[in-house]
Subunit: 220 residues, 2 copies
DNA sequence: CGGCAATTCGAACGTTCGTTCGAACAGAGT
DNA sequence: ACTCTGTTCGAACGAACGTTCGAATTGCCG
């Protein structure tokens, strides 16, 4: 009775456990999530059917429901895991770096590196950002807001250190646009790697905001 | 017998006709396209059902099929019309302007102005760019390629005139990212108008690519 | 007003959708 | 060998999907 697939299924210790006590259940779920990510990426969330997911992952249609209670929750799991991971990695990389320009370059590099290494997951995160509802939506939105806030913080530091004057909101959102749009065009056989693209985008963005009108002593 | 809804339905004169000889059919179709655009924008192409379109436009489910032969063709009509219009307007605005920087500023302004004035249609164009198949897809892709090429041309001119050195491809695609991402964040009650945003983005982008390494006489 | 074409619609078609249920299977411990 | 728990599956559910068809309605020209 009672399928797991709610978070209560995860044994209470986890978190803090040094050697991952990864259960069979966890491993299988991760596999399914991986296949589902590919399918959602290729056909879109609404366009992908549970039967598509079943075929791709090699598990029967009914069998999938042992691991999650609905298609929507599966999308939620993908988005939450992807977003959490990228924020985590960013924080680790920022640790110890104090130069405000370097911190922004790290933000951009982290984003693009993860994006290109996990294209399918990041496309699902970017492209299906509006389909979750209610509880699912707000949890992912919270992580997104945190990520956005970090970037705003980095840029505000940079701005005041260099005595610059521009709209942080527009600048940050332009930067996200530059970076996230990459899923529509990046072709690994034609385009350079993340480090190189990240360098070019960082140059355009940073020099772009730096070259902008410096703040005079007397404001406007 | 035989529903119209193929292009053959449009009376042959059109194009060149000074006073629009707009038929009742044309007007009704345009209305439906307008309503469909809103629905596709709100629920996504796959997420929107023909019954949703029927409800929104006030026409019966079967009645819709008098105006177009499939849901896919309806999306095609929306995308083709939107894209054609924005290219048309751009060409008109560029006419007579020779300064290469000003031409890029016009490109950006034209894009954002049209985007914000037709948010729903532009979101459907951006967000549902991959769902059309075969013939429908390739026709829209052709316009997209033309639009992209125009931008590459503008930037290449700017680049050689100012003796700059950067990847045109990455720069153009970054610019498109900045601009197109706007549908995910723009809020008319919070954000400035197209002219102002266009100015900020143009500054970031143009100063960004200008400040980049100038080409030395001896290359690398 | 009569008649013909353009337009609209209710009802139904066959298919596919997300989800459920109870039975079958697997493996480990006694 | 038997049982118990965790895992998988075939078959089916009702709902919703895109599309079709023939009849009804409308608008227009004589």
């Amino acid at each position: 009775m009672a399928s797991p697939s709610t978070t209560s299924r995860l044994s209470a210790r986890r978190h803090r456990a040094p050697a991952a006590p990864e259960t069979r259940y966890d491993r299988r779920l991760a596999e399914i999530i991986g296949h589902a990510t590919e399918v959602f990426c290729k056909k879109g969330y609404e366009g992908a059917s549970m039967r598509d997911l079943s075929r791709e992952s090699g598990m029967s249609l009914a069998g999938l429901y042992y691991y999650f209670e609905s298609k929507e929750r599966l999308l939620y799991l993908i988005q939450k895991h992807t977003f959490t991971t990228i924020v985590q990695r960013l924080k680790a990389r920022l640790e110890g770096v104090t130069d405000s320009e370097e911190r922004i370059r790290i933000f951009i590099l982290n984003h693009l590196e993860y994006f290109l290494a996990n294209q399918a997951a990041m496309k699902v995160l970017s492209h299906e950002a509006e389909v979750l509802k209610n509880g699912f939506a707000s949890e992912v939105a919270a992580i997104k807001r945190e990520y956005y806030r970090i970037c705003v913080g980095l840029l505000d530091n940079f701005k005041s250190e260099h005595d610059l004057q521009f709209s942080t909101r527009i600048a940050v959102l332009s930067l996200f646009g530059m970076m996230n749009w990459i899923y529509t065009w990046h072709n690994p056989r034609v385009d350079a790697d993340a480090v190189s693209i990240s360098g070019e985008m960082s140059d355009i963005f940073l020099l772009g905001v730096m070259a902008n009108a410096k703040k005079g002593r007397n404001g406007r």
